[in-house]
Symmetry: C2
Subunit: 312 residues, 2 copies
């Protein structure tokens, strides 16, 4: 399977790794040839790092499957799937999707990595609009496997199914959204939790540090291998229905206090920011991101090992 | 340090393990002596299981530190901390706290495990109300370290500090709540996320299964070692303030669609329940809970190992 990755920024590089690790032939293209050359170097470093961390087994052959190309035509030639990663501007998406639709094989899925623009906004007038969709990753997708697949109203089911199949084949965890909605699923869930988190700090109930502890040493443990529905399913003797009978009233009552939609005030944001800076100086952010990625890699390796043990 | 654990149900047993594992002498009491004998057997099994999973190192000496006693007086005699775990009924809490206040050393913290009744509701008229609080665990506390500490308005700071210190000493992760509020912090965060999760299923956007994937293979990974504030702090070049400048508008806009407070409808709950039963028959719930606890144990061991490596 040949995959075209369009745009060689951080997300494009990461997708190239995902597809090459999954056995695909990847053609990576960017309009800026200097950026393309830099991208290839960074990508090589990342692939070796993943091999060091036991998250891929043969860096050399993974890298051999990634080829940079100097034209969009060349990238799309014979491609069975296209992943686009250009800047988040509507006119950029409209222009590149028109070009991709013109230059690619007729039924090849054309997917955008956009996190904020629905596919309907940049595909409506295309002859091949039925094969266009959003495949929204979490950065970086070679460490965070979920991918949200969301078509426009005119995207055909076969496109979504083929894309889902490809994502599974390369080891990602696709989820299918049946309607276009802002924030897709992941950022809507994150937004709901963040809003309550900010509210609790604003009302003086808890510090930002203790709020993080509540998640990382509490809620987040089960969610890292089960998700919220399976969590409640196992938290009452007879499952979800039983859980909602026991605790639905409590959550309904709490929800009455969770309806605010106002912007986070400048004072509140500054307060949380200051609390974070007291825990981690701004000069340490970059090192902490490296730490985060190492923790993510270690967690993925752990999950891979216990998943394998589960299957035995 | 002597710790009294009052009530020998699942939570009482689990607390006995936490304190004994942490080096405390534990006296476990229950009004039902047959229940107390059963509890000790279950507790022994659990301690051996934790030793098998490398989550404690000397089962025999842990068990030697747990003593069952036949009267409340004996349990409280000389205790430096008391953890109460009787049924979740106001009059039960009022009665036991009056007795504990009468029978224990004057400044010993008296803590309830209640998840739904604020300390102010059952301590107002006690001579020793300054040393009463809620220490709310997540079940089972020997696998999920967070403990929410929440006093009544009259609980003194020293009581909260001593309790926090004890929890840290025995390896738990205490968080301090500065106001009484329903659901404390953990269930308020869980409620906010669950409400959006149910809403997304109700509106036909996503299946319950895919929603769980979005968390367990996406959001929940970082939250299992960072929490939501550190996550966003690292997700924009200059931290929380920068993140909120970039994405605050998106979350504000999403929040407009997240204000519903109505009860989860019977149809919606039945739908999610059916989706779960299609994935896991009701007859498998018990086995799956064993699986969950094994996964939690493996995750904790993993976190312990990487935390230790971080410190090097």
């Amino acid at each position: 399977m040949k995959v075209a990755v369009i745009g060689a920024g951080l997300i494009g590089q990461a997708w190239a790794i995902v597809f090459a690790r999954g056995g695909c032939q990847v053609r990576l293209w960017d309009g800026d040839s200097a950026a393309l050359a830099r991208a290839l170097k960074l990508l090589e470093q990342q692939v070796h790092e993943l091999e060091n961390k036991q998250l891929l087994s043969d860096a050399a052959s993974v890298l051999a499957r990634v080829q940079t190309v100097s034209s969009l035509e060349e990238a799309l030639d014979g491609a069975g799937y296209v992943q686009e990663n250009l800047p988040e501007r509507l006119e950029v998406k409209q222009e590149i999707f028109a070009a991709m639709d013109r230059l690619s094989l007729p039924d090849t899925p054309l997917a955008s990595s956009t996190s904020s623009i629905p596919a309907s906004a940049f595909t409506e007038d295309l002859p091949g609009r039925h094969r266009c969709l959003v495949s929204h990753p979490v950065n970086p997708p070679y460490l965070i496997p979920v991918v949200e697949l969301c078509g426009a109203p005119w995207t055909d089911a076969a496109t979504l199914e083929r894309t889902r199949g490809l994502m599974e084949k390369v080891g990602q965890k696709p989820v299918t959204l049946h309607k276009e909605l802002q924030g897709f699923v992941l950022n809507r869930l994150q937004g709901a939790l963040l809003r309550e988190a900010f509210r609790l700090v604003e009302s003086g109930c808890v510090s930002a540090e203790d709020l993080d502890v509540t998640v990382k040493d509490g809620l987040g443990l089960r969610w890292s291998f089960m998700g919220p529905f399976e969590t409640i399913d196992l938290n009452a003797p007879d499952g979800v229905q039983d859980y909602c009978t026991r605790y639905g009233g409590m959550y309904e009552s709490i929800a009455q206090e969770q309806t605010g939609t106002e912007p986070w005030s400048a004072e509140l944001v500054a307060d949380v920011d200051q609390q974070r800076r007291a825990l981690l100086p701004g000069s340490e952010l970059l090192n902490r991101r490296i730490w985060r990625d190492e923790r993510l890699m270690a967690l993925l390796l752990h999950k891979k090992q216990v998943d394998t043990a589960d299957l035995k």
